[in-house]
Structure formats: C-alpha cells, structure tokens
Symmetry: C2
Subunit: 470 residues, 2 copies
C-alpha cells in the first residue's frame, strides 16, 4: 500500500527503491550462479504439485492420523511406556503408508514422575495455590515445607538481598515476561540461584504472557555444588497476588508438598528414511519431537511438528518423488528433559555431520506458516531465500542464530538448518500447560505447514548443489 | 468515516441524513421538552467535575481499596463466614470514607460447599478430566459413579435418542457456544433434561468461547419431580475430546466422585445511602453483588461492579454533591445462587417500587466503559440518551430488554434501569473460573467506569423530573 502511494506521488523514487532491492539481493554477500537460479525456478511445478496433493488429500489424512494419535496417547513424557507405545504407533503408521525404511536408535532417557503436588497459603489468609513442579525438581522433605515467602522480580533483586532475608524461605520469582528465550532462565536457573542464598524452595511465575490461572511446567537444571531445592511454577495471578501482599507488608506463609520419582529408562529416536536416488549417504533431516510434558496432550508441543515432519518422506514416497539425497524424518525422543534424544543422535553420528546437507525442525507451533528461521553460511541463506521465493507468501526468512530446539546442537556444529516460522503469537499461552490440546490446532493451518515443509525439503534434498558451509 | 465519504460524494444526502437524525430523536417517540434538554446540558460542568475528581483522586484510592478487598478476602461464596467478613469490611470502609448511612438487611441464603471432586476417564484410556460442580449439584452416591458416557451437542439431539441409549449413562453436553445468554441453558437445565432420560450424571461443556483448560462453574436448577443427578462443568478441550472419541466409535467410561454439603445461612444486603436533599424518599439505586463463586477471587464478577457502585454515594458525599433524590448503593448478597439477595429486597420493599426512580447494576465487567443497556419507557430512554450525550464517547445505548442480573427482577416490575456496557469481549473467558482474579482488571478502565457511573447517577438523581414509566 505504501509502495503504491509512493508510486503515485514519486514515481522516480520507486524506481530507485526497486533498483536498490535488486542490488541488495545480488550483492557481494549473495551472488547466485544464474544457472542455479534457473534450476531453483524449475522446481516450481513440482513444489506446486506436492503442496496441492497435501492440501487436497494427504494433509487431511495426516490431520486425521494426528488427531487420533493425540486422542489415543495424550501426554507422552520421557521414560513412560505410553511414549514407547506412541513410538511403536508411528512406526506402524509409517509402514501402513507404504514406507518401510523405519529404524530406531535406543538411548537412555530420564524418567521423572509427578506423584503429588499441593501448595496452600496459610498467611495472611488460607488460599490454595496452583503449582506445577519443574522437570527434575526434587521432592519436598517428608512432611512438606512450611515457610515464609519472599518475592523478588529478578535475579538482581535476589542478589542484592542479605542472605538472612532469604535463608529458610521460599523464594517466589515474579519476573516480568519479556520473551520465552529471555525469561525462561528464571525457570531453568531459579532454584540454583535461590539455593545459593539459602532458600528452601522456589516458586516461579509461569513463563507466559497470558494466563487463565494455568501453571506452566518445563525443564530446570541444578548447578553442581548447590543444594537441590524443590522448584515449581505458579500462575501469573498468584505471583502477582504474592507480590502485592508483600508490598502491603503482609507476612506470607506457605505450605508446600511435592513428591516425584526419578529413574532412567530406555527410549528411542525414530528415523524414517526416503533414500536418495543419487547420493543416499547425504541427508536432509526434517524433525520434531514425539515426547511431551505430562500435562496437556502434547498436541502443539510437539505433536504438530512431529507429524508434519514425519509426513515429508511418507508423502514424497507416496508421490513417487525421490530426491537426489535422502530425506530423513527424525522423531526425537526426550526433547523436553533437555534434548536427550538429539544429544544421543549427535554422539552416535558425530562422524557423519558433514553428510547432513540441511537439518530442519518444527517445534514452535504449526499455526499459519510464514517461512523459515535459517542458520548457515551466507551462501546457504541465499540459496534458501531463492527457494523460498516460489512459496510466497510463505517466504519470510529470519536469522535468530539458534533455530529449532533439538537441532540447535547440530547448528552449533556448523550444520546448516532451519526451523518453521509460523503465526505462533499465542504459543506460550498453552505451552507446557494443561492447555496444550488439539483445541489449539486448526486443520487448515497444520495442513498448510505440512505442504510447505514437504515441498521445501524436497527442493533442498534434490538440488544439484549441496548447501555450502563456512 | 462512512459519513465523511458520503459528504464528499453526495453532500445533499448527508444533509438529509442529519435531518432524519434530528427527526428521529425528536419524533413522537422522543420529543423532549426544550427546557429539559437545556437543564440536562447544564449538568455538564458538574459531571466533568465528578469525573475529573474520580480520575485524579478518588478513583485511585478506590482501586487500591478494591485490590486490598480482593486480596484480603478472595472468593466470597454465599453462606460463608468470609462473605460476612467482607460485608463487615465494606461497612467499615464506608464509614472510614465519611459516610455513615449504611444499613444491612438480613436474609436467608443457600450455603453450598464444595468438598471434593474428581473425574477420571478409564476407557478408552486413563486420563484425568477437570471438573467443577455446578452450584446446588447433589453429590455422587457413596463410591462415586462409574458409567459409560454419551455425548450430545444439543437438547434436541438428546431428545431424539431412545431412552435405552441414555439410561444409566453420564450425559456430556458438548453444545457450541453461541452467547452466554443463549448457551447457559445447558448448565442451568442440563441435569434435569438428562435425568428425565434416565442419565445418572451430566457433564457440561463450560459456557465460554475460549479456554486454557479451565472449567467454569455457575448455578443450575433442578426441575421439580425430577431425579436430582450430579452435574458439573468440564473444559472445552475435554468436551471436544469426548466428542471425537465417540465419533471414532470408542466406548467411553468415566468414574466421577463429587461431594457437597448443603445448608442455609444468614447473610445481608448492604445499603449505602446518600440521602436526597429534596425528595429523600425517591431512590436512584446503583448496585453490584458482593458474593462470588468459590473459584477464582470474584474480582471481575462482581468485585469491580460492586466497588464502582459503592463509590457513587461515597464520592458524591465527599464532593459535597447532594442530589435531589437519595442515591443508594446496594451490595447484593447471594446473587450467584440465583439473585437471592435481590429477591429478598424486592419482597421487603415491594410497596416502595414506585419510589425507585432508576435502578442500575454493573455485573458484566468493568473494562473500558461504553455506555448503558437501558430498560424503560421511551420517554425514559430519551432522557437517558440526552444525558449520555455529555459522556461521549461513553454514550452507547442498548436495549436488551433485560439489563443487569439482580435488577432484572425490578425491571420486570416496570422499574426503569440500566446496566453498564463495557468492552467485555473476554468476560466469559474468566467468568466463574479460577481465572477471575485482579489480573483481569486494568486500573484505568475501572476508574473510568467508576467516573462515568458516579457522574451519570448524579444527573439522574438530581434532575427536576422523575423518569416516566409506561
């Protein structure tokens, strides 16, 4: 609209803008061989074909299978038999859809079982406080913890406090939500920081910008040489209430009881391969994780991403479209406790990293697709950008530096990769809470994600050139 | 914007529209005495003064007192000692603010105490189902109910079913949300309808357009001559899950346990009067209810409405603005179980209804104020509309026919009245759930509601003419 207005008023300026645009795309950073540009453009018919087939047919079947999968298994926490059953189900489903190249790689995963949790405010008045322990939290001592509360808004505020003000207390972190990436440190590190000051437990404002009184769980990590204290999420509502009560000068006393069981179990990464017709040893990996937290249904995190990734080799096989390189879908296990499945894969395949041409993950929602968050050399990013042109309006390209969750481990090893950008403004409203259910999803959007994901991967897997690294 | 465009294209039409507008406002239905129009306009300075004083000073104090009230008492269910303590608190607060004309009127109210609730799906898989019993629900038999589920989308669908399909089952109502007014019948009447078909319990999709896995409670009423069966809310997410499982042909079995205690207790309506200087026997009533459900904090429903109504006589007294008629704030008790406080007031004051010049209630949120939903004769509506002109942009006028909750009883008796229109699009997201907390509120909006509410009531209470009835 702005451009049109400018065109009307200053036609000459518009021409200059266009000229600049052309120069920017083909400047020193981004000069593509015209032959490659022509080659990429030649995929337009096949990408349209793949997307149309998914939109009209395979996508609907996939969405139905996705819904059945979530309804059948629900939450699939690391270490549980239900997760293993769900992995078996996906293996069977792959074969039912005509693809038999499915393997699993076994590994050890954490098993952290939520047994019992309760919190009650006793002073200044009696009120139940909803809590949801963080993965790997220790239990409270037998008999629970009965202690005074101190509320802080930041680590800096905690650090400034005299140790005697914190000793023996429950530290409540009521940090403002900035972004998940920035704010999540209160969940992951809060217990350790508070323990160093002598706290007996921490309760952390849930990492979300919006709440209808839902606590949100997630992983946390104890630093070494620190007393392990119980740590749980509370709601935005209660965090603010406790803050206000403290500001009013009230003495706040809570009683909390938390009991968990910890063990390790076996689980599996699942690899679904469509072998490449020319360079089968070279890989384009598309992935999502099959495990979830134990609250909600793991529909959004990461049922959707897992499902659209699984579909890529399956649908290309059904369409009889074998690219030059192998397309491998990986259903990571045990992402939630700390990328455990991805770590095991990386270790087992550490000598084959140069064979991974591109690695993709969808783990931030399958709402309306927008494009990709791409990590890699400038040349790689130029090629990806050129490919994305034919997916307009799904052609946004970002560069966060750390796309995906599991795949970040590979990105750090200089493997180029990307995660799915989508309209996930409400993602953290539901994330790691009871609200992560099929109701969050919209069939049309998930199918559109799947169509883009499959067609884009196909082009990258079939291009005559590898994506160059630095 | 449309008008501006028309003005540009068809200046003559615009003139006609304006002419029509004038005619409409002063036609047979709505001819106001020019002297009255002049009189109403003369209030502009005083309404501005009231609003400015509330915006700059009294509103902030009120919001602080409001927050303290909610933080101190939390939920205030009918029949509880906490409700009575909160009433005492408001009486004290009134006196602290220099108004001593506070009386209470005692009445009997229901006391329905939630003791224990749990629901678990046993087939086709084990899953906890969040439930929240409806006020006045009976308990399950000792040992709970273990029964198959049948899901229906409407009463019509239930009616069509053969009795043998329903007998002995738990009926799940998964009705689509249309509006609260339209959809709430599934909560209020669902148990009775299902019991007539032989159901042993009902679970009802929460009456809200949006959910992060929160069940919403509310009143329900057993019809006479019907077996009283336990009845509770479930979340949108679980209602849809159960629907899908049924559509997949799965046999669904639930086990539910619900225990409640029922009794009656004494409570009080609270009347805060600023006596009129000319006709103290004539009343302008402003009101909200002080009781709440037992989940959440009753901050929105109806802490906000109660507080802005309480402020009206208090602030007018502080500003030394005594209108001709008495301004009475009523803090209704026991609205939630079925307008119990309002019924008692109506009975006790049945011979004084002609003395109520206007009755107002705010019980649908105190978000950004928009105007009023007005019930009354055409003449009354014309006067209200004329008064609203000076509150632009808070000058929207609707005519639902049944504004407010408690005051509907009075409206039905031909008393003119109004409820507060406000930007409450998200009201039902939080309504009757754990999400009804201070986090829903915004200080500026609540103060703006209070400013409008007080200034508008003042004009109505002070006008030289009574609002005419049919």
């Amino acid at each position: 609209m702005t451009a049109l207005k400018l065109l009307f008023i200053f036609p000459l300026i518009i021409i200059k803008i266009n000229a600049n645009f052309v120069i920017t795309r083909y400047d020193d950073e981004c000069v593509l061989d015209p032959a490659l540009v022509t080659e990429i453009a030649s995929y337009e018919n096949v990408t349209k074909h793949i997307m149309d087939q998914i939109r009209d047919y395979y996508g609907k079947t996939m969405y139905q299978e996705y819904t059945r999968f979530i309804d059948k298994f629900g939450a699939r926490p690391s270490g549980t038999w239900i997760l293993e059953k769900s992995i078996d189900h996906m293996i069977d489903l792959t074969k039912q859809h005509g693809l038999y190249d499915v393997t699993t790689e076994e590994l050890e995963v954490p098993y952290w079982l939520r047994l019992m949790e309760s919190a009650i405010m006793l002073q200044p008045r009696v009120k139940k406080i909803a809590i949801l322990g963080f993965g790997s939290s220790v239990s409270t001592p037998s008999g629970g913890i009965h202690a005074e509360v101190i509320v802080v808004r930041s680590f800096a505020e905690l650090e400034k406090l005299d140790r005697t003000k914190v000793q023996g207390k429950i530290v409540v972190f009521n940090e403002p939500y900035v972004s998940y990436g920035e704010t999540v440190i209160y969940r992951t590190q809060g217990a350790s920081k508070a323990a160093r000051k002598g706290a007996v437990a921490t309760l952390v404002r849930s990492i979300t910008p919006f709440s209808i009184y839902a606590p949100h769980t997630g992983a946390q990590y104890y630093e070494s040489n620190v007393t392990k204290i119980p740590t749980a999420a509370i709601t935005l509502e209660d965090a603010d209430l406790l803050q206000r009560l403290q500001e009013e000068g009230e003495k706040i006393v809570l009683e909390i009881q938390m009991a968990y069981m910890e063990d390790t179990k076996k689980s599996r990464n699942t690899l679904v391969d469509l072998k490449g017709k020319e360079s089968p040893e070279k890989l384009v990996i598309v992935s999502g994780h099959i495990d979830s937290w134990d609250v909600g249904e793991g529909a959004m995190d990461d049922g959707g991403g897992m499902m659209i990734s699984w579909l890529v080799p399956v649908v290309l096989n059904s369409l009889n479209l074998k690219p030059r390189r192998t397309v491998r879908a990986i259903l990571w296990t045990a992402e939630e406790p700390g990328l455990i499945g991805a770590q095991a894969y990386l270790k087992q395949h550490k000598d084959e990293l140069d064979k991974i041409n591109f690695i993709m993950e969808s783990d931030e929602g399958t709402f309306q697709p927008l494009g990709l968050d791409v990590a890699g050399s400038n040349k790689t990013r130029c090629i990806v950008q050129e490919v994305l042109k034919q997916f307009a309006p799904i052609n946004k390209m970002e560069n966060s530096g750390a796309p995906g969750s599991d795949i970040v481990l590979f990105i750090k090893q200089n493997v180029p990769g990307a995660s799915l950008l989508n309209r996930n403004e409400r993602y953290y409203w539901f994330h790691h809470s009871e609200g992560d259910t099929m109701n969050v999803q919209n069939m049309t959007n998930v199918i559109e994600c799947a169509a883009f994901w499959a067609a884009f991967s196909y082009v990258i897997a079939d291009l005559s050139v590898d994506l160059p690294r630095n």
